[in-house]
């Protein structure tokens, strides 16, 4: 195993600064709540981050919202907003960037940097790591005005290679003090040996199926994987296995085929007229990114580390290094340019228009990824559609161009939500649109209504005597619905109700042909403020309209229509 790494370049010594639940820090900023409040941040109905208080109740990353709420009923739920995460993280990047060169933003909440130089300057890895952690915490608490109390603070780990350094940072965040692994492959392997193989997928992005397979084969620890002969692992598991084996042994953790590109790959645009609008810059960035990605793709390569640089007329300079292990596509590059420019503009160090924008790939690897499909999968049409969306955003504005995202819920308007197209990955919609694989309890049966009224419109329902239909606390209907009457006034108007039918200001009285219900729903019974109790009905009128009605607190509402 050791002999195999002789010919390779030495493993770089890296420092990783990591805040485990950064989205929670940002989400907590908007509301002045105490640090001990349980908070989760959701994306596509799955927990992506949670506060320490929520973690203590059993909430974990990857759970569905329902599971998280079941474990911790008082939890506050926030939606994930990567752009604001990135903006808030900019303060940390700046503060750390002032101490160490070439800070690489792996994701909002996580930084990677070469630790050799700074360690020598600050007197050793441990002293350097402690300084970085202190500076980052200060940047968050004093400059950005956020509180780290709810999530436990920053962890700094220093080790050989990205994998070991990442794990060290996770451990450091848990212990609230920096973790330094001695240099050398032997020391790294010793550190990794007792750790579970699960970390391969969590930290290094190895596929979960492969990790599952290792577990089933009885290889529960990285040490037991590393102890196997490399040739056998390669023969049994293929290149992915060999990669995992190299990681477990503390070897080079750059993906096979990674190399530094020759100089002169960068693309840039110099503006004659300084550009003041970030939208215009992002538009140019998209062209540059497509040019760059297209050129690389023609050679079968993909960029994994990218430097985005921008200069203003007054000589101000913004430069950030971005990393993505799976490779940066054009959309991902544009997203990062947007994060960087937004943060730059927001933190006020920009006094003039931008005159230069440059994208410089500094690490490439061969692209094993995406082959445009002949049938299904990703096609040229998708690329066109994404381009059209970019144009629509330019014409109509970001807030008007929306794409659906699955959310899950009982009410018709809960199941899907609209998110701005610029924040979504349009080429990989599967994750965004994924419906929970198990049925949502209390969900309406299929087919779904096609017109959803949100907010619901008031409506009156009468029995044959002209009295309003009610439902008892035990779910019994007072009398069969005989007619419905839509209030013509706008939604939410009050002051009418059980006044009998035929009063002025109301729509036509429609006789009921058939009906079904009540289907009772009780939401958040544990929460007095947001507790909702309602009964739902399907009502078919004689004119052929199928309506979905909701009875809540004695009032009838038209929630949706099947048309």
């Amino acid at each position: 195993m050791r002999s195999s790494s002789v010919t390779r370049t030495p493993v770089p010594r890296l420092g990783v600064l990591w805040c485990p639940h950064w989205p929670v820090v940002v989400a907590s900023a908007s509301s002045a709540q105490s640090a001990s409040e349980p908070v989760v941040v959701l994306h596509a109905n799955q927990v992506v981050a949670h506060s320490a208080a929520a973690g203590a109740e059993g909430v974990a990353v990857g759970q569905r919202r329902r599971d998280a709420q079941a474990r911790c009923p008082s939890v506050r739920v926030e939606q994930h907003d990567p752009a604001s995460d990135a903006r808030a993280f900019e303060q940390v990047v700046r503060a750390v960037g002032a101490m160490v060169p070439r800070v690489e933003v792996t994701e909002p909440g996580m930084l990677t940097f070469m630790s050799r130089g700074p360690s020598r300057y600050f007197g050793g890895d441990a002293a350097m790591a402690a300084t970085v952690a202190r500076v980052a915490t200060e940047a968050v608490t004093t400059t950005a005005g956020l509180s780290l109390a709810g999530v436990g603070g920053f962890g700094v780990g220093v080790a050989d290679g990205r994998f070991a350094a990442g794990i060290a940072a996770r451990r450091a965040a848990r212990r609230a003090q920096p973790v330094v692994i001695e240099p050398g492959q032997q020391a790294t392997a010793t550190f990794l040996a007792p750790l579970p193989v699960r970390l391969l997928s969590v930290v290094a992005g190895v596929s979960p199926e492969f990790v599952h397979l290792l577990n089933r084969l009885g290889l529960h620890h990285l040490g037991s994987l590393a102890a196997l002969p490399e040739a056998d692992v390669l023969a049994r598991f293929g290149p992915q296995g060999a990669f995992a084996h190299r990681l477990a042994g503390g070897g080079d953790d750059r993906l096979p085929g990674t190399h530094d590109p020759p100089a002169g790959m960068q693309v840039q645009r110099v503006f004659e007229q300084p550009v003041h609008h970030s939208d215009a810059l992002v538009f140019v960035a998209r062209q540059l990114a497509e040019e760059l990605v297209g050129g690389l793709a023609a050679e079968g390569r993909v960029c994994t580390r990218l430097v985005v640089a921008a200069d203003t007329e007054h000589g101000e300079h913004s430069e950030r290094l971005w990393y993505r292990s799976s490779g940066l596509g054009a959309a991902a590059m544009v997203e990062r340019v947007r994060w960087q420019l937004d943060a730059w503009a927001q933190h006020g160090s920009i006094t003039a228009g931008v005159v230069l924008l440059r994208l410089d790939p500094v690490e490439l690897r061969s692209d094993d990824g995406v082959q445009l499909g002949l049938w299904g999968g990703r096609t040229q049409a998708d690329e066109w559609a994404v381009r059209a969306v970019a144009r629509l955003v330019a014409v109509a504005g970001e807030q008007l161009v929306l794409v659906p995202a699955a959310q899950g819920g009982r009410q018709p308007h809960d199941a899907y939500t609209w998110v701005p197209a610029v924040t979504a990955d349009l080429l990989e919609p599967a994750e965004r649109l994924a419906v929970a694989d198990r049925p949502w309890p209390g969900r309406l049966p299929s087919p779904s209504p096609s017109v959803v009224h949100h907010p619901a419109r008031p409506i009156d329902v009468f029995d044959i005597t002209g009295a309003p239909v009610t439902v008892t606390g035990r779910g019994a209907v007072s009398a069969p619905p005989y007619a419905v009457q839509l209030s013509s006034s706008s939604a939410g108007s009050s002051g009418h109700g059980s006044s009998g039918h035929g009063s002025s200001g109301h729509g036509a009285l429609e006789p009921v042909e058939s009906w079904a219900g009540p289907w009772p729903v009780e939401e958040r019974w544990w929460d007095t403020a947001r507790h909702r109790r309602m009964a739902r009905f399907q009502v078919l009128t004689r004119s052929g309209r199928l309506l979905l009605l909701t009875l809540e607190r004695g009032r009838w509402w038209l929630t949706a229509e099947y048309c």
């Binding site: 059209a388 144009r391 014409v395 109509a396 794409v403 087919p447 096609s450 069969p480 079904a516």
Partner: protein, 153 residues
Amino acid sequence: MVAEPAQRFDDAQWADVLAAMIDGFDVLLLGPGVHGVRAGTARRLSARLQQRGAVMFTVAGVGGAPGPFGADLRFVATDTAWQGLGEGHGVARGRRVSVQLDGRRVPRARRAELWLPTADGAVEAVSFTVAPLPVPLPAPLSVPLSVPLSATG
């Protein structure tokens, strides 16, 4: 993927937005808001639509007015009947609709019995006829196309 204007677009904005959509997508579903587009703009967009080979669906206005984009094909749903609902029991399992297709590209009107939707939200044909119909049309309904959104199964 839907662009949804919160405030009203003016004619020039409509032209820009629709042109971008036509260039990027093969199928467009438009709400009743497009009835505000001027006829000249609509003609230019129709030409672009044909050139790109895209398909646009619009919803008929009040009284079946075709809107500024004169439609090549017209779907009229009649005899809608929801199945599965009883007197206080059951659940809507689907709707049988008789859809008639006519328009300037169709020499003889066609008629099909459809499940729109079926119990799992899809569209399914029950029967299909190309009949030389006498055409006593009732008032045309809006085109009741289920947007894929609602077909979540």
